[in-house]
Structure formats: structure tokens, C-alpha cells
């Protein structure tokens, strides 16, 4: 099964052998290819080069064509301000400036930057579409309505709901039309990105958003494609309403507890994506922070209906090493990643492994990130602690945390590919798998017998 098949299975809420990974690379792709965010967003060749670079560097199972929530708004008449390191910002709201809904026109392939984005989408699908799932990102109706109307929309929702319904009907048509253009370009997944829905209550969501979202999802499914709903911000209160709007998948950010969202999504048969912290972990954290967070999230998300992804689009200056660290956790290559990370200091540190064969006890090495902060690592250590109860005189065990260089050297020498790993007498036995206490106990007893202790 290739990456694309893996992702499509997970997004359809099926069980998979490995959790798929979709880094939401938008303006960060500009950094990857050495251009500003503005140069990236305004040029289809740069968008294509950025996607290819991200594919090569981050080994994803899916990638967005780009991540720009302003394409539709600009094509319809909002003025944008471009920036070197961020996506463009909407600077004007036509409906606050005297225009009416009748003045707004649904954009076609030739309006605004659609020619740039659609050309990029077609080319990326051609180059990568047989390997990974390509996402087309469409602005959601509510966020688009906010672009047109500014914060006045919150008052109209109370004072003149009919006017909001009318605007939402227009925005729904825009979303469907953008979905159509992306599907015609060849994308596999259409994600409706509606982050501003996190700013309203479930009651408002069901009144002002769901009736306009569901037909968009219906259209995408009718065309044989997968639909996803992305939100950012604290959407905890709206997760159930989001599921009821019938997307195939939802994607959340760090403000929502993944375990909580997972439980609700599974109740509705909706798959879930998320929610690596963008700023604290990806932008400002270390590679180890990123490995730890990926491991913890994958532990919670599980192998059924879960996709590992950032909470929203990756910041421009995010160190590529941090994203590669996540890739290594996804692909079970933390050992190799850490070896590359410290290769310059490999010669300075020496670690002498015990003489496992002749040692008077069975030696168990538990290679972790840190059992104090990495949930799967904690379970591995707890399994060992329980399994050796009553036989401590025959077994010696130690935890080696790879946040220490000596432990990385040990990990490399033991040929441990990923964390957590439990080694018995120098052999990696449980790699990224937490055995039951009984199973582990049996393995240890076998080793004891083998040594004649």
C-alpha cells in the first residue's frame, strides 16, 4: 500500500498499519525554496517547487496544493496585503464599504490568483498524485462571509439573521465552485477550511454554518472525492456539530483535546486529523520536542481514522529539522534521524555496551525519549517495571532517554530504529510496541532460562 492509499483509508475511518502524516505546508514552502511568502503565493512555479521540495524533505502521505484562505476573497474583490513571511491578509470588506451581495460574483478559473493556484494544482497532481494524496483547500462559507462583512456579521447574526442566511448562500456557492475547480484539477481531498467557526456557539454553528456546509460536502462526495473540514482555534464546543455537518474527516488545532475530539468523531464515523502545536513545538521547539509530541499524538489518535498533522498551516520559519523529526517518528526512523542529528559529535562520546552474553543477569534496556513526558515511553517503562516484579535478582533494567547524547549512541549501537524500544540482552525485541506484562514476562523468563540463571 503506498502513501496515498494509506491516507485515503485512514481518512475513510479505516484501520491502517501506519498512521499517515500530512504536513500543512503553505507559506513555509517559500522558505524551503528560498523565496518570500509573497513570491510563493503569487507564482505557480514556486508553489509547484515548494510542494515537490516538501514531498522530498518530509516524506508525507498527503500535501495541500497550498494553504491560502484569501484566494476566493481576493478574486471576489477584497483587497489583500502581502507579507514576506505570512499568508496575505484581507484588508477590506466589500459589504462594509457599500457593496451589496448582488455586486459579488462567484469567481471562475480566470479570476484573481485562481489561474496560479489551479495551474499549480494540476501540475502537483500530475507529479505527485500517484504517490500521495493531494489536498485542495477551499475557504469555508463562514470565514468567507467574515472576509466580506468583517465583525459586523456577529451583530447581524442576532439582529438580521436573514441577511446572514443570504450571504451564507452566496458563500456556499463559492465554496462549491472552488471545490469543483480543484476536483477538475485532479485533487484527491477537498478540505473546507472554516477556522472562524471556532468563534461561534454550537447553536449558531447549526443555524448559520451547517446548512451551508453539508451541501458542499455532498457535492464533493458526489464527485467521488473525499471531504474534510478544517477548523482552528478552540472549537471544542463545536466538534459534535462539525461531525453532524457530515464531512468525511475533520482537522483540529492544538486548542482542542485530541482524545475528546477522537471520541466524538468515532461516534459519528468521522476520521480526525491534528493537532501538533504550531508555535511552541514546531516553530520554537527542538527536534526532540517534535518527536515527543508526534509520539504522544499518535498514541492518542491510534491507527483507525487518524491522520497526524499540524493544527493549521506551518509557520514560514519553522526549522525543517523539526518537521523531519516528526517524519522520523511517523516512519519509525527516529534512530537514524538522531544519528544524523548528532553525527558531528559521534566521535567525542563513547558508550561501552555491557557484555550481554556473559552478564550474570538478563539486561533490559528501554530506549525512550523520556518516560516522564512521552506517553508510549511511559507505558514501555511501566510494562518493564511490572514484568520484572519478583525476579529483580535475575534481571537488571535501565531506561535510556535519547535526549542525552550517550543514549543516542547506545540506541545506534543497539540498532534500535525507533522509540520506545525494549531490548533484552542487547536485542531490540519490542520496537514501537508495548507488550502486555504477561508477554514481556515470558520473554524475560525465556532469556533467564537461556542463560541458566
Amino acid at each position: 500500500m503506498n502513501s496515498k492509499e494509506l491516507l485515503l483509508r485512514a481518512i475513510h475511518n479505516e484501520s491502517v498499519e501506519r498512521i499517515p502524516w500530512v504536513p500543512f505546508v503553505g507559506c513555509h514552502a517559500g522558505n524551503l525554496i528560498g523565496v518570500t511568502a509573497e513570491e510563493y503565493f503569487r507564482n505557480s512555479d514556486n508553489i509547484i517547487r515548494g510542494a515537490i521540495k516538501a514531498f522530498e524533505e518530509y516524506k508525507p502521505d498527503g500535501l495541500p496544493v497550498t494553504f491560502d484562505l484569501q484566494v476566493e476573497a481576493e478574486a471576489i474583490g477584497c483587497k489583500l496585503v502581502y507579507s514576506d513571511k505570512n499568508p496575505p491578509s484581507v484588508a477590506t470588506h466589500p459589504l462594509q464599504e457599500g457593496k451589496s451581495i448582488e455586486d459579488l460574483k462567484i469567481p471562475s478559473e480566470t479570476d484573481g490568483r485562481f489561474p496560479i493556484v489551479l495551474k499549480a494544482a494540476k501540475e502537483i497532481c500530475k507529479l505527485l498524485g500517484d504517490k500521495i494524496a493531494v489536498y485542495g483547500l477551499v475557504i469555508g462559507p463562514f470565514t468567507l462571509a467574515l472576509h466580506f462583512k468583517g465583525t459586523d456579521i456577529f451583530y447581524e447574526m442576532m439582529d438580521s439573521p436573514e441577511r446572514v442566511y443570504e450571504l451564507m448562500r452566496f458563500c456556499q456557492k463559492v465554496s462549491i465552485n472552488s471545490a469543483k475547480m480543484y476536483i477538475d484539477a485532479g485533487v484527491d481531498v477537498v478540505a473546507i477550511v472554516d477556522p472562524m467557526t471556532s468563534q461561534i456557539s454550537p447553536t449558531s454553528f447549526e443555524e448559520f454554518v451547517s446548512p451551508y456546509l453539508t451541501p458542499v460536502f455532498d457535492y464533493i462526495r458526489e464527485r467521488g472525492k473525499v471531504c474534510s473540514l478544517f477548523v482552528c482555534g478552540n472549537a471544542t464546543k463545536n466538534i459534535e456539530s462539525m461531525c453532524k455537518s457530515k464531512p468525511d474527516n475533520i482537522s483540529i488545532d492544538e486548542n482542542v483535546d485530541l482524545a475528546y475530539a477522537k471520541e466524538i468523531c468515532q461516534r459519528y464515523g468521522v476520521s480526525l486529523g491534528g493537532n501538533i502545536k504550531l508555535t511552541l513545538t514546531m516553530l520554537f521547539g527542538t527536534p526532540l520536542d517534535n518527536i515527543r509530541e508526534a509520539e504522544n499524538l499518535m498514541e492518542i489518535g491510534g491507527k483507525k481514522g487518524y491522520i497526524l498533522s499540524p493544527g493549521c498551516d506551518i509557520p514560514y520559519d519553522t526549522p525543517p529539522e523539526n518537521i523531519k523529526a516528526i517524519t522520523s517518528a511517523v516512519h519509525g526512523e527516529v534512530g537514524e534521524f538522531m544519528r544524523q542529528d548528532i553525527k558531528n559529535s559521534l566521535e567525542e562520546i563513547d558508550v561501552v555496551l555491557p557484555d550481554y552474553k556473559n552478564a550474570k543477569k538478563v539486561i533490559i534496556d528501554v530506549i525512550t525519549l523520556d518516560s516522564g513526558s512521552c506517553a508510549p515511553c511511559q507505558y514501555a517503562v511501566e510494562a518493564v517495571k511490572s514484568a520484572v516484579e519478583g525476579i529483580e535478582d535475575k534481571v537488571e533494567w535501565n531506561e535510556y532517554k535519547i535526549k542525552e547524547k550517550e543514549s543516542i549512541i547506545r540506541m545506534i549501537k543497539l540498532r534500535v530504529p525507533n522509540i520506545p524500544t525494549i531490548c533484552i540482552d542487547g536485542e531490540p525485541v519490542y520496537i514501537s510496541v508495548i507488550p502486555s506484562v504477561d508477554e514481556l514476562r515470558r520473554s524475560i523468563e525465556t532469556a533467564i532460562k537461556r542463560k541458566g540463571i
Binding site: A91, L146, T151, F154, P195, Q199, C232, D313
Partner: protein
């Protein structure tokens, strides 16, 4: 004598935070036009250490609004009516206890 509003925002926010930040800026510009005693400062976070020097910041979600040292929002679009109420209250307090 006035009311000081600090808007704390990330140098590199995600798309959603950027939209919220721009909407907050618009709200503040409107309020500045209405209340001449309002002083609005924009504080950009470029690195984590920058957070330590921000008086009144308790919830590290952005954009955050701090009015006279008291945080009133974190990562959300505030209700303009609520902001006006808080500003008026702070202004009255400032008049009662100048300095």
C-alpha cells in the same frame, strides 16, 4: 491619563490567527476613533522569551488583548460591546485614582 490596550500577537501566526489579529486591529482602530483616551500598542512575539516581559499576560494564546494590565481575551475575536464596557470602566477607575 488614559486606558492602555496591548495587543499581543505572534510574528508568524497561522492563517486563522492572522485573520483574527486583523479583525482585532480593525476593532481597535474603530475604538481609537471613538475614545481619544485610548492608547493601543501592538506587541509582536518573535521568540518565546519575549513573553516573559509582557505585563498581565496569563493565557499564552494569541492574539491576546490586555487592557491596563488585565488580560481579557486569548485567541478569540472579542465582543466590541464588552471591550467598550471594560474600557469605560478602566477609564472611570483611572479618573478616580489618577497615577
Amino acid at each position: 491619563m488614559g486606558v492602555k490596550v496591548d495587543i499581543v500577537f505572534l510574528e508568524e501566526p497561522c492563517s486563522a490567527c492572522l485573520i483574527i489579529f486583523n479583525l482585532i486591529k480593525e476593532i481597535m482602530e474603530r475604538l481609537k476613533g471613538k475614545y481619544d483616551f485610548l492608547e493601543v500598542n501592538y506587541i509582536e512575539i518573535k521568540k518565546l522569551e519575549d513573553l516573559h516581559s509582557i505585563k498581565g499576560l496569563e493565557v499564552e494564546k494569541f492574539p491576546a488583548i490586555i487592557i491596563d494590565g488585565e488580560q481579557i481575551s486569548a485567541g478569540t475575536i472579542p465582543d466590541i460591546g464588552e471591550i467598550e464596557k471594560i474600557i469605560s470602566l478602566k477609564y472611570r477607575e483611572a479618573l478616580r485614582c489618577p497615577g
